[in-house]
């Protein structure tokens, strides 16, 4: 089997190099690209990202990539959204106003509610995921975020995590499309396993 063509979408937000290194760990030379054709010709794409919802969508739109990502996602080929990249897969974001997302998975992105124990927000550090997806998903992963995923449909919740007594959706999944609120590329062996399994879906 030839090496799958995996593209990490560069839309101007965040550090893509550690993600590229994580793929390289499994001998996959992932491309970093902001070219719509290259994205559409991939076997799988990764939508990374750190920052605000609005900045993320703006970054995609000014590069003319929003439609490309939606088209790719509809093709049935695998998509992995990470952190902000997972959030913008949803319909709308409520960060510094209300902004339209890619609407690939119906739902909203909202701020963490006030936590009973006064725990700090952002939620920074390692936390457990509970998922019906088997052992590989039921591990500790590294999180850093102030906003949470709220899919409209329960069937799209693929992982749950609890912080400060508040349960939130930490993984969304719809068919071929995965979104993790945590950073697999920063989550040691557990995160590498998620990347490895993603490569296997291609």
């Amino acid at each position: 089997m030839s090496e799958p063509k995996i593209t990490i979408i560069d839309y101007g937000v965040g550090n893509l190099h550690s993600l590229k290194r994580a793929f390289k760990f499994f001998d996959v030379d992932a491309a970093i690209s902001e070219d719509a054709d290259e994205i559409l010709n991939s076997d799988a794409v990764v939508l990374p990202g750190v920052g605000s919802f609005e900045a993320g969508m703006r970054g995609l739109k000014i590069r003319g990539l929003a439609d490309a990502v939606k088209t790719f996602a509809a093709s049935g080929k695998p998509v992995l959204g990470i952190c902000l990249g997972a959030q913008i897969l949803l319909s709308e974001g409520h960060e510094f106003g209300v902004f339209e997302g890619l609407d690939v998975i119906p739902g909203k992105v909202v701020r963490f509610p006030e936590l009973a124990g006064g725990e700090k927000i952002p939620h920074v550090g390692w936390n457990k995921v509970r998922s019906p997806g088997g052992d590989a998903w039921n591990k500790d992963f590294y999180f850093v975020h102030s906003y949470i995923l709220k899919p409209d449909k329960n069937e799209h919740i693929f992982g749950r995590t609890t912080y400060g007594g508040q349960e939130f959706c930490s993984v969304v999944k719809k068919d071929n499309i995965y979104g993790t609120q945590f950073h697999p590329e920063k989550s040691g062996g557990a995160g590498l396993e998620v990347i490895k399994n993603f490569i296997k879906t291609t």
Binding site: H17, R21, P122, G125, W126, K186, L192
Partner: protein, 252 residues
């Protein structure tokens, strides 16, 4: 309770990991690539990587070295040393950093902190404070690897930096650094008392009970240590097992 992070720290000078005492009197303790790999494999939650003479000599840290050290390290790495421009931060991120720690240049030009957090997000910008206790009981922030006075009150500086948008604060006690006499609980407590962002305590780890104390009494969100790991007193797992036995949540 949330997980407390255990974070080994590598102080870099030239190609080596060194261990300062009171942030000076350096001793070479090892190779950064080997130590980073060892701590990653032992289960460190993150790494701190600081070029401790870059600011002093007004030069940049060695980005190629950083790149080789972080190549197969898949946990967050906070990098500091001579960071003074947006371009420097970009270089650090491209060389394997996830966050940058800024001390000297933030003291000289505090607005740099807000520019950096606007550009890269608060989660990327860590205020690094080197604090030294004064005769009147207050703490002064030092720069250039603990060598230069700033005349700024360390606790007030933390407060201001939070307003400027930093996402975490790394607090080193210059007095305790390398002494293994315990963290400066008073210092850590004064900052975590009001900080809405995580506080990482450094300086003075020795006995395991010091870590327990700085978490329970000092209210630190993360503990950083160097000597106890570099010299092999404890492995990361020893620290985590100890904290777990004290009912402190850690990732295992």
């Amino acid at each position: 309770m949330k997980n407390i992070r255990v974070i080994p720290r590598l102080d870099i000078k030239g190609p080596n990991v060194v261990k300062p005492v009171h942030t000076e009197a350096l001793r070479v303790v090892g190779n950064p690539k080997e130590l980073a790999k060892r701590y990653y494999e032992e289960g460190a939650d993150e790494l701190i990587y600081l070029d401790i003479v870059a600011s002093l000599y007004q030069r940049n840290l060695d980005f190629d070295l950083l790149k080789s050290v972080t190549e197969n390290i898949f946990i967050p790495v906070t990098v500091g040393g001579g960071i003074r421009t947006i371009h420097d931060i970009n270089n650090a991120l491209r060389s394997g950093a996830d966050k940058v720690a800024i001390n000297t240049y933030a003291v000289r030009r505090p607005k740099f902190l807000s520019e950096a957090s606007r550009e890269f997000g608060s989660q990327c910008v860590v205020l690094y404070i080197e604090a030294k206790k004064q005769k009147d009981g207050s703490y002064e922030a030092y720069t250039d690897g603990g060598r230069e006075h700033s005349g700024i009150d360390a606790v007030e500086w933390a407060r201001r930096a939070i307003d400027l948008g930093v996402g975490e604060i790394l607090v080193t006690s210059v007095d305790r650094d390398g002494t293994r006499r315990g963290y400066d609980l008073d210092l850590i407590k004064r900052i975590s008392a009001f900080s809405p962002v995580p506080v990482i305590a450094h300086g003075g780890a020795g006995d395991l009970e010091f870590l327990d104390k700085v978490i329970m009494d000092g209210k630190a969100d993360a503990v950083s240590a160097s000597s106890i790991f570099h010299y092999g007193d404890f492995k990361i797992g020893d620290v985590k097992n100890y904290l777990k036995a004290k009912n402190i949540n850690v990732r295992t």
